[in-house]
Each structure stands twice: as structure tokens, then as C-alpha cells.
């Protein structure tokens, strides 16, 4: 589905110095897979996601979607950002309808689909609210519905639950998995939380920083559908979490310090 081929990204931090954010990343994501990119802040994991989204052009290397080189953003790849990035001048319904309307879906149909999506993310009754009237968790639900509304083939989630409190975060993780179980869209999910990555993913791509490289790819062979309360007691789940945390600890001891 998505092929990332020897991608490097250099940011110019000042006139004379460059920062190598991503170094020689190659990765492929199969259709229908839930893949997390896990790493400490500053490892370039979000940048990698932005390259797939077409928002950032890589300094070298190429990213492909279904065999076609990615040159810019498109509705086949739908982002969900940590900052929500809702349109504040639009109501909840207006936000969710925006994508379908842009794609030429008739207003009546777009509205019907959007109302159904709003219900699916648990916000029935809030259609006419403005973003400023919603809590962080509700905003992120709207953002997810807004992206799902234009039927992207891949969801690009950039630390989507990073700005939420622990309780809200857990609820949204559960709801995301439930929604994902219905159509098993391809998801690339950026996070710095080990348990979030293990809980959600089929595959965890561990990254190390300075420069950002792929450290290791771990296949999370846990049965689905996953129930959080069951998983927390499951020794296999616990082992994945502990193993991954140990690997990061080793890096910190060997590396230039966290």
C-alpha cells in the first residue's frame, strides 16, 4: 500500500548548520494494517508521517502510495492531528461535511453521511456545536469523523491522543479500535506511548533519534478484537511492552543521552 524508499530529511536550522531529521528510512505498510511509529520526541516520526501525507517533501528518497510517487496531499490519505485542526468557524456538522462537499457529494447526501459518522464517533446531539464549545476529546472525535467522511484509503494519525488526559485517551483508543474493526482501513499511527502502540497495532516501528532511524520493527501478534481490560492481564501483551521499553532504555544508555 505504502512504500517508503530510502527517505532522508534534512532541515536547515540556521544559515550554516543542518539537522538530519530522518536518515535513510525504508518501510512498507500493507493494506489494512495498523502500524504505529514509536519513538522519543525529536526522532522524526511525525516528519515521516508528513512525508507520506505529502505535506513535506523528502530531501532524498521517495514515498509511494499504491505504486505512485507521492508529490502532494490528497484525499486518499487522511490526516488526524494532535492539534485537532478543526475549522473553528464551522459547526461540528459543517466540519464533517467539508470533505464530502469538496469532493462534489450532494449536500443532502453529505449531510446524511456526516450525521451518521457523528453518531458513530459518539457525538449525536452535538451537530450544531462549534469547536470552541467542545472538550479536547470531543474535538478529536470530530476530527476523526471529518477525516473518515471523505473516505481516505489510509489514515495518518499524528499523536492524535497526545493532548488528552489519561482517561479520555483510553476511551478514544477503545473507540478508535472499534471503528477500525469495521472496515480495517490502513492506519499509520505516530505515538511516543509504548502501551498505546502495542495495544492498537499489528506492527510497531521503533525509531531512534539523532538522526531518526528505524531501530527495529516488532510484530504485535495479539488476537483481535482486542479488549483493553483483557490485554492488560495478558502476559504476551505485558512482554511486548516490557521488551520495547527495554530496547529504548538500552539506546538511552548507549546513546548521547535522552
Amino acid at each position: 500500500m505504502i512504500e517508503i524508499d530510502r527517505v532522508s530529511q534534512v532541515f536547515q536550522t540556521s544559515a550554516r548548520s543542518d539537522h538530519l531529521a530522518l536518515s535513510d528510512i525504508s518501510l512498507s505498510v500493507e493494506e489494512g494494517a495498523f502500524v504505529s511509529i514509536l519513538g522519543p520526541s525529536g526522532c522524526g516520526k511525525s516528519t515521516l508521517l508528513y512525508i507520506v501525507g505529502g505535506f513535506v517533501n523528502p530531501t532524498s528518497g521517495i514515498a509511494k502510495m499504491k505504486g505512485k510517487t507521492i508529490t502532494g496531499p490528497g484525499p486518499d490519505r487522511g490526516p488526524v492531528f494532535q492539534e485537532f485542526a478543526l475549522f473553528p468557524w464551522k459547526s461540528v456538522l459543517g466540519n464533517v461535511m467539508y470533505g464530502p462537499r469538496q469532493q462534489g457529494v450532494r449536500a443532502v447526501d453529505a449531510e446524511a453521511q456526516s450525521r451518521a459518522l457523528i453518531e458513530m464517533v459518539g457525538l449525536k446531539g452535538y451537530e450544531n456545536f462549534y469547536p470552541k464549545e467542545l472538550s479536547g476529546g470531543m474535538k478529536q472525535r470530530v476530527a476523526l469523523a471529518r477525516t473518515l467522511a471523505y473516505h481516505p484509503e489510509v489514515l495518518l494519525m499524528d499523536e492524535p491522543f497526545g493532548a488528552l488526559d489519561a482517561h479520555t485517551r483510553t476511551r478514544l483508543q477503545n473507540d478508535l479500535l472499534n471503528i477500525w474493526e469495521r472496515d480495517r482501513k490502513t492506519v499509520i499511527f505516530v505515538t511516543h506511548s509504548v502501551d498505546e502502540a502495542v495495544f492498537l497495532s499489528d506492527k510497531v516501528v521503533m525509531m531512534s533519534r539523532s538522526p531518526g532511524r528505524i531501530r527495529q520493527i516488532v510484530d504485535i501478534e495479539l488476537p483481535r478484537p482486542r479488549r483493553r481490560t483483557e490485554l492488560l492481564l495478558d502476559p504476551r501483551y505485558q512482554k511486548f511492552v516490557v521488551d520495547i521499553e527495554r530496547m529504548f532504555d538500552d539506546d538511552d544508555e548507549a546513546g548521547p543521552g535522552a
Binding site: 490528497g74 492531528f81 492539534e83 485542526a85 473553528p88 468557524w89 470552541k132 472538550s135
Partner: protein
């Protein structure tokens, strides 16, 4: 707020006006200066001006120039400011230009503009246009710069072209800031309107005011100041109502957001 508190809050502007007029009346009576009529004398002269056809034509001519200057300025400045906020090249080109023009009092350009364009409507409207443009450009620019990049990206992912993103995402997102600039622009339009007519007398509210000054009709001078001031207050209040309606979605609200994940 208590009912009494609300009543005081509503009465406050009226009380302030009455207080100011009373202060004026007392000061004028104490100073006994011919060029400083009392508030009562000035207010008495207002109906005479508003009842005079010639004066009304003058005032309407002023308002028309102001409306045209303001309208054209907003139509040009908003797109320019937004483009500057989104494109480094456009910003690099226009920023130095604007920095040079910014501190120049626009009315000071009036003599040169008169030399080129005469003393008619075009010259005066141009000065108003210049006066209004800068705050509107500046606020549109700042507004566009502050638009969250991820919001623009979200639009790009939905398939909006660069031009569509500017009009349909950057502009509405920057609207509160743009309208703040327009409000400043509206007041500046009034100021430049009067000053342009002070320099190029021919018609207009400024013409009445400064002719009366020349002839020593001080009650008319102060009556005109009251009229122009009232026009400014009414325009600003009307604009503020429209503005508040357009950006209701962005106003901070006092009740807490719903607590629900």
C-alpha cells in the same frame, strides 16, 4: 451580574456623555473665550447644519468618498495581507515598501496628490484609501500568519487547491483579525476624510468645519465636531455589531466547555 449592576453598566455611557458635556459647559462659562462656545450653544447649532440642504450635500459627499475609499481599500488590502502572510516571497517584496509608507501621515501626502490629481473626489478618496489600507493589510497579514498550518493541511488533504485554501481556509480563519483591522480602518477613514477636506477644501464635512473656523463661527465649528464625532460613533457601533455577528464562533465564552470525552 445583579440587576442593579446591569442597570449601571447600561447607563454608564449615557452618564459619561452627560458628564463630558457638563464639564464642557462649566469650562466654557469659566473661560469666557469667544472661540470656545458652551456645549448648549454648540448643540443648538446642530439642527441648523442638519437642516441646511447645502450642508447635507457636503456631508453626504464626504460619506460617499469615505465609503468608496474604505471599500476599495478593504477589497485590495485583505487579499494582499493574506498573500503576504502565506508566501515568504510576497512578504519579502511588500514588507519594506509598507514599512516606509507606514509612519508617513497619509494626509501629508495630500498636497502632492492634489498636484497630480486635482482637488476633486479622486485625490480625497485616494488619501482615504491609503489611510485605511495599512491597518487592514497589517491585520490580515498577522491573521494569515497565525493560521494553524495543520488546518491548512487538513484542507489540502481534502483536495483544496492553493487558491481555494487561501479563500476558504486562511481567510475565514483569519477573519477575527481581519475585522479588527477593518475597524481601525473605519476610524482612520473618518480621520483622513476630514483632514483631506481640510487641505483640499471644496466640499465635504471638513469644508464646513474649516470655513466656519475661518469666519469665526465657533458654534458651527463645535457643532460640526459633534456631528463628525457622532458619525464616527454610529459607524463604529454598526460595524461592531456586524463584526460580533460574523465572528461569534471565535469569541471566548464564559461558560466552561462541556466536560465529556
Amino acid at each position: 451580574m445583579t440587576q442593579r449592576g446591569a442597570l449601571i453598566a447600561r447607563a454608564a455611557p449615557v452618564l459619561a456623555c452627560i458628564g463630558l458635556l457638563a464639564l464642557w459647559q462649566v469650562a466654557s462659562l469659566l473661560l469666557k473665550n469667544d472661540s470656545f462656545p458652551t456645549a448648549v450653544e454648540a448643540i443648538r447649532a446642530v439642527p441648523a447644519i442638519l437642516g441646511d440642504k447645502e450642508a447635507l450635500i457636503n456631508i453626504l459627499a464626504s460619506l460617499r468618498r469615505m465609503a468608496v475609499g474604505f471599500g476599495v481599500a478593504v477589497a485590495v488590502s485583505v487579499p494582499l495581507g493574506l498573500l503576504m502572510g502565506r508566501s515568504r516571497q510576497v512578504q519579502a517584496f511588500f514588507n519594506p515598501l509598507l514599512m516606509v509608507i507606514y509612519p508617513v501621515p497619509k494626509a501629508a501626502l495630500m498636497p502632492i496628490i492634489m498636484l497630480w490629481l486635482g482637488v476633486g473626489d479622486i485625490a480625497k478618496t485616494l488619501v482615504i484609501f491609503l489611510g485605511v489600507s495599512l491597518p487592514v493589510i497589517y491585520h490580515s497579514f498577522e491573521g494569515a500568519k497565525a493560521v494553524e498550518e495543520k488546518m491548512v493541511w487538513s484542507g489540502a488533504a481534502m483536495g483544496l487547491s492553493a487558491a481555494q485554501r487561501l479563500v476558504r481556509i486562511v481567510m475565514p480563519a483569519a477573519l477575527p483579525e481581519i475585522l479588527t483591522g477593518c475597524r481601525t480602518g473605519l476610524v482612520l477613514a473618518l480621520i483622513t476624510m476630514i483632514t483631506s477636506e481640510m487641505i483640499a477644501r471644496q466640499s465635504g464635512a471638513g469644508n464646513i468645519l474649516f470655513n466656519a473656523l475661518d469666519m469665526g463661527q465657533y458654534d458651527t465649528v463645535f457643532a460640526m465636531i459633534i456631528i463628525v464625532g457622532a458619525m464616527g460613533i454610529c459607524l463604529d457601533a454598526a460595524f461592531e455589531r456586524v463584526r460580533a455577528r460574523l465572528v461569534r464562533w471565535s469569541e471566548p465564552q464564559f461558560d466552561m466547555p462541556l466536560s465529556f470525552s
